[in-house]
């Protein structure tokens, strides 16, 4: 970790259970730096998404899933029961594998989190919607289509709409769970460029199946295997000179 980097998310001994007896994460310990892009890689079923979904406690929607340990965001353990989950989810935005625009217009999609969390005037909302769409590199493409349904956009545009929507809530952290897996290659590159820009204002954690994407986009990379974090280091090091054997085997395509 560089000297000028602060830690945004600090995880200590995180265990995760899908119902009693089925443990999916084992003693995860990691420090996610602020204003950096951290990629999370590993073979299918290794727990990458599960780990990500602890950061905004979205797993709580499902009965029987539970997390134990410490996950500190800005020093506060977000797994503690006193934590306000609604506020946590505003501060930690999430983008999913498939684009999930709400069944409303493009404008309303982006305005929704603003109306949800803040009391703003109509003009303030309009202004911030434009800013969010610009921040998601989508403004030019949709500025004439703001009233059209969000579902009328192309796949790549829909995903960027979801990013704009996530940004509109004014989060600190953006969690991305394989955001380009359902999107065509051209749109994928657009989204990857966007992620690089997002670094300036947000802390990004991106789970990806695609190693090339991880090496293109991220500053740090964490390698997961069977629910454990095998290695976490600067991306360059992971991909050129990993210190763990398992990491090397995965990188070179021995399995995965």
């Amino acid at each position: 970790m560089d000297a000028d980097e602060k830690i945004k998310i600090s995880v200590r001994n995180l265990d995760f259970f899908y119902g009693k007896g089925h443990q999916a994460l084992f003693g995860n310990t990691i420090d996610i730096p602020e204003h950096r892009i951290t990629a999370v890689i590993g073979p299918s079923g290794c727990g990458k998404s599960t780990h990500l979904r602890v950061y905004n406690r979205i797993f709580e929607l499902y009965r029987g899933q539970s997390a134990e340990g410490e996950v500190r965001i800005d020093g506060e353990n977000i797994l503690a029961p006193e934590v306000d989950v609604l506020e946590l989810r505003r501060k930690v935005g999430m983008i999913f594998q498939k684009p999930t625009p709400f069944p409303m217009s493009v404008f309303d999609n982006v305005a929704y989190p603003m109306r949800l969390h803040f009391k703003l005037s109509k003009s303030e909302i309009a202004e911030r919607v434009e800013l969010a769409l610009q921040g998601a590199s989508l403004w030019d493409e949709v500025k004439d289509k703001l009233k059209k349904s969000g579902l009328a956009l192309s796949g790549g545009q829909q995903q960027r709409l979801c990013i704009a929507r996530a940004i509109a809530a004014q989060p600190d952290i953006l969690l991305m769970d394989e955001p380009t897996s359902a999107v065509d290659p051209v749109a994928t590159l657009k989204i990857e460029d966007l992620v690089l820009q997002l670094r300036e204002h947000f802390t990004v954690v991106i789970v990806t199946h695609n190693m090339q994407q991880a090496s293109r986009v991220s500053d740090y990379t964490a390698f997961f295997y069977k629910g454990k974090i095998v290695e976490f280091d600067k991306t360059e090091k992971i991909f050129t000179n990993p210190s763990q054997k398992k990491t090397e085997e995965y990188i070179t395509g021995r399995f995965g």
């Binding site: 979205i58 609604l86 999930t100 709400f102 929704y112 989190p113 979801c162």
Partner: protein, 313 residues
């Protein structure tokens, strides 16, 4: 060789016969629907010839003088149906919502219990309504609403009632259609993609906000289909209404008034009907059929668009 040939030919013929019989049976459904329309149309022709379309807004009902008007019945049907929907839709919506996310054990039991409401025959609802609800309305509930809550001051509401009437009928109807609508709505909610719900929660929505702003919009067609199903049931319900509505052929002036619906008028008058009165009853039946047909077609249309089940099982 010839033996084998024989055994090949016969199955082919029985096959064709079977197909024809089966196909005919299937088409029978469509034929029945058509027959219903035609029969009621033909049977009611004398009434239309005598009274014309004014029959629909006529308010008189005097069998002796051969004066008949459909308005009391039609108005009664529309009023009870509308009121039943207003009373039943919010609980149907929120119970469906709660049941979808409920803990597995309790949720299952309560679901089954709610669905059992739908299995109770309407004549039983009628009995309960007549012997239990009507006195209750007269002695406790109606005074409470009119006097204690001062609702009696509202123009159409009603100040004194004998327990029979539109409000009572609507309450029972609401109880009867609740399980149907709740079941369809539950189905619709379950069909919402989990990623969409997670997106909403991920932004920081509460359960209610997710339901109100996102799930409801996503499944609006299915929800409308469910409401139309409830509407259809309320429209045609005869027995439960018959027992408690008071059976007076006048246009409603207040919720506490006794009145009638198309179905109740039909049930009440059939014993002695002949001649022009019979044609009048057929005419009323035709109106009900057309209303129900319209509602059903809309309901099926909406449900088809979402692929939601009818919720009747």
């Amino acid at each position: 060789m010839t033996n084998n040939l024989k055994s090949i030919i016969n199955p082919a013929r029985s096959d064709r016969l079977f197909r024809i019989a089966a196909g005919g049976s299937a088409i029978l459904v469509v034929a029945l629907l058509a027959a219903l329309l035609i029969q009621l149309g033909v049977g009611s022709a004398p009434a239309w010839r005598k009274f014309g379309l004014g029959f629909l807004i006529g308010t008189g009902w005097d069998p002796v003088a051969n004066v008949y008007g459909a308005l009391p019945s039609i108005a009664g049907t529309l009023l009870t149906t509308a009121l039943a929907l207003i009373i039943a839709i919010p609980p149907a919506f929120v119970t469906a919502l709660w049941l979808v996310d409920a803990p597995p054990g309790i949720g299952e039991v309560l679901s089954q219990a709610l669905d059992l409401l739908a299995a109770i025959p309407s004549v039983i609802y009628g009995m309960w309504g007549l012997f239990i609800l009507v006195p209750l309305m007269q002695n406790r509930i109606q005074p409470f609403l009119s006097d204690t809550l001062h609702l009696g001051k509202i123009p159409f509401f009603g100040e004194y009632g004998n327990g029979f009437g539109f409000l009572t009928a609507s309450l029972i109807l609401a109880l009867m259609i609740l399980p149907y609508m709740s079941a369809v709505m539950r189905n619709v909610f379950q069909m919402t993609p989990s990623m969409l719900r997670e997106s909403a929660f991920g932004i920081g929505c509460t359960r209610w906000e997710t339901a109100k702003d996102i799930v409801m919009r996503y499944g609006i067609r299915g929800l409308l289909g469910g409401i139309f199903i409830g509407l259809g049931r309320a429209l045609g319900e005869t027995m439960a209404v018959l027992f408690v509505i008071g059976n007076v052929t006048t246009v409603p002036k207040s919720l506490y008034d006794s009145g009638t619906t198309i179905a109740a008028t039909l049930a009440n008058n059939f014993g002695e009907a002949d001649g022009i009165m019979r044609a009048v009853l057929f005419a009323l039946g035709l109106v009900l059929l057309l209303l129900a047909l319209g509602v059903q077609v809309l309901a099926q249309y909406y449900l088809m668009m979402t692929g939601a089940k009818r919720g009747e099982q």
